[in-house]
């Protein structure tokens, strides 16, 4: 029997629509959101599609409520998602912290537009990547993925669900307005080829269950609502049994684990795409829509015999520190085009540790770099 959640076949759809299809294919059955350009199409697609698979789509009163609702739904056992853009992402930060603290699997999509504030509602930006890393107060590890095409909006939304279930945290899909609104061919594979990961579940009897006792992988098994475990889930610092414990030792154990569960698993999480890096003297490091212009620039320059390569970041967080460090040891220059005043470029420069020069190509938003912008910078450093 065919699965109405997986529209196997070839489609010509936008990145936003592909994101919604990826979510449903991954098993998402609860969406809560609030309209905002340029992410509204995700909510619209979810409103149309979720009932077809007996899922629930609700438009909440704001983005604060949207995140709160998907956290609640996740504790109800559902895979859940919300989608927004900059101003909504800012509102979400409070409950993103709750999701991190309570280790609640869910997916939060941010289709980035130009900011700050209302900024450029209909035009592209990439200036929320540091907000995704550090936006909610306190320390915690994060996972953020950066799709560069509608096909990747589909693939990486599935991946985001799988990572959120594996590592028990809200995972970010940091799309951008261009990728969200562009239409391209999207291939949805047969249902049996779609990998779906389910959260680790508690199997021990309730009397011996400790809801925040993690094993060596640092991920505690989860007991959802109504399963007889009588779990207390709190945003307060809590001990392994989930009770609030307002002490430095409890905080040290908990927060360090929240960070380490991503740090120690970083090599399993990180994905990059590498193009012509073997002998590259200049390396373009790009992500999202910007990587499309970077790819073109690298192809054109390689055709001219220039030693240039591309490191495309698919995972923004955790940052591929080791690979960037290696490349800094090999190349003379790392070129970072991004649609902001320099965010990932700081990470690149930090990891380069002075071994290679970092060149930032900032754009404040509203448009994308042309391949020629990137080529001009590369030619300057390669000459």
């Amino acid at each position: 029997m065919s699965d109405p959640g997986v529209l196997t076949g070839e489609h010509f759809i936008t990145g936003d629509e592909a994101c919604a299809e990826g979510a449903i294919a991954a098993g998402c059955r609860f969406f809560a959101g609030y309209p905002i350009t340029p992410a509204t199409e995700i909510a619209e697609r979810m409103a149309r599609r979720l009932p077809q698979v007996q899922g629930i789509c609700i438009q909440m009163e704001d983005e604060i409520a949207s995140v709160a609702a998907i956290l609640g739904a996740s504790w109800g056992g559902a895979k859940s998602m919300t989608a927004t853009s900059g101003p909504g992402f800012s509102l979400m930060m409070e409950n993103i912290g709750l999701g991190m603290m309570t280790e609640t699997p869910c997916v939060i999509v941010n289709i980035m537009r130009g900011g700050p504030s209302t900024g450029l509602p209909t035009l592209v930006g990439q200036a929320d990547v540091m907000q995704a890393r550090w936006g909610s107060h306190g320390d915690y590890g994060v996972i953020a993925l950066s799709p560069s095409s509608p096909q990747e909006m589909f693939n990486l939304t599935i991946e985001a669900f799988n990572l959120s279930e594996t590592y028990r945290l809200p995972v970010f899909v940091l799309g951008d307005e261009l990728v969200g609104h562009m239409s391209e061919r999207v291939i949805i594979p047969p249902v049996e080829q779609i990998k779906r990961v389910e959260r680790p579940r508690s199997v021990c009897p309730p009397e011996t269950y400790l809801p925040y006792q993690a094993g060596e992988n640092l991920i505690p098994p989860m007991a959802c609502a109504g399963e007889g475990y009588h779990v207390h889930v709190t945003g307060l610092t809590h001990d392994e049994q989930g009770y609030p414990v307002i002490t430095a030792p409890a905080h040290e154990r908990l927060v360090r684990r929240l960070v380490d569960k991503i740090r120690f698993n970083a090599q399993r999480i990180i994905q990059v795409e590498e193009i012509a890096l073997a002998d590259a003297e200049a390396v373009v490091i790009a992500y999202g829509c910007t990587s499309r212009a970077a790819r073109e620039a690298v192809t054109l320059l390689r055709n001219q015999g220039k030693k240039i390569g591309l490191l495309r970041l698919i995972t923004l967080w955790p940052f591929p520190e080791e690979r960037v460090r290696q490349l800094a040891g090999q190349a003379r220059t790392l070129i970072v085009p991004e649609i902001n005043y320099g965010q990932m470029a700081y990470e690149v420069e930090r990891c380069a540790q002075g071994q290679a020069e970092t060149v930032l190509l900032p754009l404040m938003g509203g448009t994308i770099h042309s391949p020629q912008d990137i080529m001009a910078a590369a030619e300057e450093v390669l000459s």
């Binding site: 109405p4 059955r29 609860f30 809560a32 009932p51 077809q52 698979v53 007996q54 629930i56 609700i58 909440m60 009163e61 704001d62 604060i64 409520a65 949207s66 709160a68 609702a69 998907i70 956290l71 609640g72 739904a73 996740s74 504790w75 109800g76 056992g77 559902a78 859940s80 409070e94 409950n95 912290g97 709750l98 400790l210 006792q213 609502a225 109504g226 399963e227 007889g228 475990y229 009588h230 779990v231 207390h232 889930v233 709190t234 945003g235 307060l236 001990d239 392994e240 049994q241 009770y243 609030p244 030792p249 040290e252 154990r253 360090r256």
Partner: protein, 299 residues
């Protein structure tokens, strides 16, 4: 960079277990309380113990199994109720208990989801969520413990503080007009609206049990003493004296017009079950109008 960590003090499950077993189980209602969580953090004379107890008795009266009963709370003194109950309990962020509970209730309609929080949490920072959940008629049982101030932070003015009441942030008296909570709940669409004080423990148990057995967004306001945060600056006396005040100044008026039940400083308190007006819930409508269309018939 190199990292030199502080040493970790490991979790001691045995010590925790000892703490949990000590004296737990001596009272028959201990099955409703999380082992090792008592004594609670509330001040002497606080009304929250009464409300916790009446909730337990409401659960018993309604016959809701503890495995199927969920409590979601916000932040503040009342928000701590969740942590004491031996149910699946969720202590969320300030003001966000209702939207969190909305997600939970919609995905698990087989569970009974109650929201426990204070007047500041539910009606200041969370006011927008309250009116929208009531409008949608999400199947949530909201219990608001109204002590007329922010107790946890030491007695600041809140959205229910009566005119000219003194708090630490209204040292010369409050000049803002407070919400009349039953009126707000009724106008927003709550299917059940009641108010009791902590003096009316038996009526409160009945009301809680009633809300647990009907579907839809229900609202109970519980007027509770806060002798430390609110009673002292307003010269209301101890918790016991506040209970005496409730006895002498409460007027039981079931079916009272919610517009007429506003509360003034040291004024009469109208209590009772004001409204019960069932209508289809969010999920009833979503199921009937939308999900049914896409349900595959068996065989």
């Amino acid at each position: 960079m190199k990292i030199r960590y502080q040493p970790i003090v490991p979790f001691d499950p045995e010590a925790t277990s000892r703490l949990k077993d000590e004296q737990h189980g001596l009272h028959p209602d201990d099955i409703f309380l999380k082992p090792g969580r008592i004594p609670h953090i509330w001040c002497p004379g606080c009304g929250l113990g009464v409300v916790l107890n009446t909730f337990i008795n409401g659960l018993k009266m309604a016959g809701i199994p503890i495995d199927k009963s969920i409590v979601v709370s916000g932040i503040g003194c009342t928000g701590r109720v969740a942590g004491y109950l031996n149910l699946d309990t969720y202590h969320t962020t300030h003001g966000r208990a209702i939207p969190f509970a909305t997600g939970l209730a919609l995905t698990r309609p087989d569970l009974s989801v109650s929201v426990f929080s204070g007047d500041g949490d539910l009606f200041a920072i969370g006011g927008n969520h309250f009116i929208h959940a009531a409008r949608r008629n999400v199947n949530l049982k909201v219990i608001c413990v109204n002590n007329f101030n922010y107790g946890m932070t030491g007695g600041q003015v809140g959205p229910t503080t009566p005119v000219m009441a003194k708090t630490t942030t209204t040292p010369y008296g409050n000049t803002e007009h407070p919400f009349n909570l039953p009126y707000l709940a009724h106008a927003s669409g709550a299917v059940y609206v009641a108010r009791w004080t902590t003096f009316h423990a038996r009526q409160l148990v009945t009301s809680i049990a009633e809300t647990l057995t009907i579907k839809g967004f229900t609202f109970i306001e519980v007027i509770a003493p806060c002798p430390v945060g609110y009673g002292r600056p307003n010269k209301l006396g101890s918790g016991l004296e506040e209970m005496k005040f409730y006895r002498e100044n409460s007027l039981v008026e079931n079916g009272a017009d919610p517009r007429e039940v506003g509360i003034a400083l040291k004024g009469k308190i109208v209590v009772g079950k004001f409204r019960e007006e069932p209508r289809p819930t969010f999920l009833d409508e979503y199921e009937e109008q939308i999900l049914k269309k896409f349900r595959r018939t068996e065989g």
